[in-house]
């Protein structure tokens, strides 16, 4: 028998809603409270597959207590599954992302077997069921129990080019939901149910994003032997082909011909991803013995290090070949950094070319933009300031909460203009 887990009362020491007022102003918080008051009497039940690790758990950990604080009766439950189930859902994840993996009829059987067990065990009590990602998607089979109950499916992953076998399998469940939510327009699919666009967000109070003392930044630069006097180009990302770290080195070398700069490539390794070891080896080989290329392997939980490296950078680069929403870009923009990033995934949602950063499509384009920014610090500064303001208005946690509250209200109103 599977045990499900209720996460509703586990909120150790997170920020209060009014702590965000200094970033977004009192009116934004007032609006959240007003929207929350219109949801009085409604219970929101979030369900996902894990309470720790991963972006969804990170978001729910911060968002659920804030929703409860403003008066929305919000709960969070977690499905259970065995090792086999999670191996299958990992395959789903890879295949939905357009990566290669092998899947067969037995995998789908494993998925359905665990789904049926969760359907039996899971206590469904929300007025609005908020189901996150593919793992618990099959719980929609319980929709028949209460016709008034609303069901939402939140897709946190890039499904712009999904494997059709997996997508068609999931689609049979998705179309039974009242609505779906995607993080970027590029991820939307042809569906018979409404699809909403809700971007993810960053938390300005988290270790990765909060202000740091200059001494903390200096200490971290010293720790990694980085020369703080020399212009720094920084990419923070996993060592993954899709992040194109080798292309970043090529771009750096084009810039280096004209500007004496240094490159910082910092990211974690994924122990469950043998490919990352291969990519790292290629990056090291490409870097050769250039003392101005710093390849930093950061252990999990290096949030303050990442924060410091972003804050110390003169230009942040994100030369991804494919990207989800690109929250590392959001983090750099929030720190008012001039960013050069590929026009892929959710990045164009965050950067308007030459307004709030520079978009690129090639190594040469990236190098040209970096040179422009290093040669024009005033222009770079203005882009950074625009970028921070854009994030402040559109990509902080409070905007994310607002969108969810509006979404819940939209379930009970079908008009394009809703008078609250």
């Amino acid at each position: 028998m599977l045990q499900t887990e209720n996460k509703s009362n586990v909120y150790p020491g997170f920020a209060k809603i009014r702590d965000y007022e200094k970033f977004v102003g009192a009116s934004v918080i007032n609006n959240l409270e007003l929207l929350a008051s219109r949801l009085k009497g409604k219970t929101i039940q979030n369900i996902n597959s894990t309470s720790v690790g991963g972006g969804v758990a990170e978001i729910l950990n911060r968002m659920v207590p804030l929703l409860r604080e403003i008066g929305v009766d919000t709960h969070w439950d977690v499905i259970k599954g065995g090792e086999q189930f999670f191996q299958v859902t990992k395959k789903f994840h890879n295949l939905l992302h357009g990566r290669q993996d092998l899947i067969n009829a037995h995998d789908f059987e494993v998925f359905m077997h665990t789904t049926e067990l969760n359907i039996e065990e899971m206590d469904i009590y929300g007025d609005i069921m908020f189901i996150h990602d593919p793992q618990p998607i099959g719980l929609i089979k319980k929709k028949y129990e209460d016709k008034n109950r609303k069901w939402l499916w939140r897709c946190h992953i890039d499904v712009s080019n999904p494997d059709q076998d997996v997508w068609c399998f999931l689609k049979k469940f998705i179309v039974k939901y009242n609505a779906s939510i995607f993080s970027s327009p590029q991820f939307s699919q042809k569906l018979s149910i409404p699809q909403f666009l809700i971007s993810p967000s960053i938390d300005p109070l988290s270790d990765k994003n909060r202000e740091l003392d200059i001494q903390v930044i200096d200490d971290i630069l010293n720790k990694y032997n980085i020369d703080k006097q020399k212009p720094m180009i920084t990419q923070i990302s996993r060592f993954d082909y899709l992040k194109d770290p080798v292309g970043v080195i090529d771009a750096y070398r084009l810039v280096k011909k004209y500007i004496d700069c240094q490159l910082i490539l910092a990211g974690g390794t994924a122990t469950d991803d043998p490919e990352s070891v291969k990519v790292l080896a290629q990056v090291q080989e490409k870097a050769g013995n250039d003392p101005d290329i710093h390849i930093l392997l950061l252990p999990a939980g290096s949030d303050i290090e990442i924060n410091a490296l972003q804050r110390a950078a003169n230009v942040v680069i994100q030369k991804s070949i494919k990207e989800g929403f690109g929250l590392t870009v959001t983090e750099a923009l929030w720190k008012a950094k001039p960013v050069v990033a590929s026009a892929v995934g959710g990045i164009p949602l965050q950067i308007k070319h030459k307004f709030s950063g520079m978009l690129c499509h090639s190594v040469e384009g990236a190098a040209f933009a970096i040179k422009q920014l290093l040669h024009s610090p005033e222009y770079a500064k203005q882009l950074g300031l625009n970028a921070r303001e854009n994030v402040r208005l559109n990509f902080l946690l409070t905007r994310h909460i607002k969108d969810y509250l509006l979404l819940f209200l939209a379930l009970y109103n079908s008009s394009d203009v809703v008078h609250l």
Partner: protein
């Protein structure tokens, strides 16, 4: 001028928030863009002609609409982009008239430049049509005369000013002018000030500049 004249009807400040709904419609070239601009609901046209203004309120003046931005930045058809960006939105009293002007602008361009139809966006840069669902609510601020009106304008949210200047007029068709001018003219009989505010082109201000301009005009009026 009558700053203490009690209004026939008080001015209730409203505000609005929007939720974005994906339509699933995508354009890769000008003919598809034109096709969907003809077909989509008003709420989609509204979203794409005002999104930049709302999401980038710090970047003005002259925020491009999404169509102009995409045609310029992605398709590289700069002259059409300029024509689209310079459509004088303030001249239109409803979304459909604005839509017809956009359609006419693209049609004329395609007639004169048929080869431009071959320009295509790459897969990561297609145009996605999105709908704005607006949630309108009272802010609790109410003005009973011109002085109170000015005081509230100084502190009300940008979203509220946005609602009364842009959305109420164009999307909800509440008045032929902006809500502020309408109220000043009809409820407090300040016709001259109403006329001055109606002459403002809000599309060429940042939202904060717009607030300052309105306050400045109204304050100067009370001093005459």
């Amino acid at each position: 001028m009558s700053t203490l004249l009690i209004a026939k009807q008080p001015f209730c400040f409203y505000s609005r928030l929007i939720l974005q709904e994906l339509t699933g419609l995508k354009a890769v070239n000008l003919s598809q863009l034109l096709k969907y601009i003809r077909e989509v609901p008003d709420a989609v046209i509204y979203y794409h002609t005002h999104r930049f203004l709302q999401q980038h309120i710090y970047l003005n003046p002259e925020p491009p609409n999404d169509f102009a931005y995409w045609v310029d930045d992605v398709l590289g058809v700069h002259d059409l982009a300029e024509n689209l960006a310079s459509i004088d939105t303030i001249q239109f009293f409803d979304i459909n008239s604005l839509r017809q002007k956009i359609i006419y602008t693209i049609e004329q361009y395609l007639k004169a430049n048929p080869r431009s139809i071959k320009r295509k966006a790459n897969i990561s840069e297609v145009f996605h049509f999105i709908k704005a669902i607006s949630f309108v609510f009272r802010t609790g601020f109410v003005a009973y005369n011109l002085e109170e009106f000015i005081s509230i304008l100084k502190i009300i949210t940008i979203e509220s000013i946005y609602f009364h200047i842009f959305e109420s007029r164009l999307r909800l068709g509440n008045t032929k002018t902006n809500d502020f001018s309408y109220w000043l003219g009809t409820s407090v009989n300040e016709l001259e000030l109403a006329k001055r505010l109606a002459k403002l082109d809000p599309y060429t201000h940042t939202m904060e500049d717009l607030r300052k301009s309105i306050v400045r005009l109204a304050y100067a009026y009370t001093q005459t």
